[in-house]
Symmetry: C2
């Protein structure tokens, strides 16, 4: 596993997905899990780019999407900071969860599984989400 740590956050990047989406998802995950404190500064665009060995523009793209979701606030000349509003984090977290659920149910629905079948499958694997 090609694992890198930048600013206290772990990153695993591959080529199966756009890099900016992976960076976005993994920073967001750190925020959602509370692995990074509210109000805390995250690495600068250039730092992150160097640490991950990718282009600053690619990091920028991820950072801008974080700000669009109001998970971060950027202060010109200072850096990018996690929001101090815990309600924002909660909201985004549940929004993303709901999207995942909808997509999941749609996919299983298209395969002809009923709700109770889905529940049964999940019960047999449910131990995996901590």
């Amino acid at each position: 596993m090609n694992e890198t740590t930048v600013g206290g956050m772990k990153f695993v990047l591959d080529l199966s997905q756009p890099l900016y989406e992976q960076v976005l998802a993994q920073v967001r995950s750190s925020i959602a899990k509370g692995e990074i404190a509210l109000g805390e500064k995250i690495p600068s665009v250039r730092e992150m780019a160097q640490g991950l060995k990718i282009n600053p523009n690619t990091v920028m793209r991820a950072y801008q999407e974080l700000e669009r979701d109001q998970l971060t606030e950027t202060r010109r000349g200072q850096g990018t900071f996690i929001t101090t509003d815990s309600e924002k984090v909660r909201t985004i977290r549940y929004r993303l969860a709901e999207e995942a659920v909808d997509e999941f149910l749609a996919k299983l629905g298209s395969l002809g599984f009923t709700a109770s079948e889905v529940a049964a499958i999940l019960r047999s694997k449910g131990g995996e989400a901590r």
Copy 2:
């Protein structure tokens, strides 16, 4: 909704995903749900391409993946037919379901949801998968 019907199967294509994947998924869905009978012939590559207004090569790509999964058998000069082996269909159906479950649990796990939380969310929306 840009809906088209070809060979008794409904198709909705958009630009959010590769066309060949959408065709693949929607034919597969028809098979999994039993909307199309085992052994039945599906539209020829050219027919399907014309009906969906896409390139024959794109349809080919979808059809070849169906055959690789052994959901179809192709007979040169005759056409493409749904497998007569119901066990094959069952197998693929569960494989796809399992993949979807794993992906889903991984995603919610990365958002810091526990198994019981996932179960709770699903219970509140479970009515949607038939």
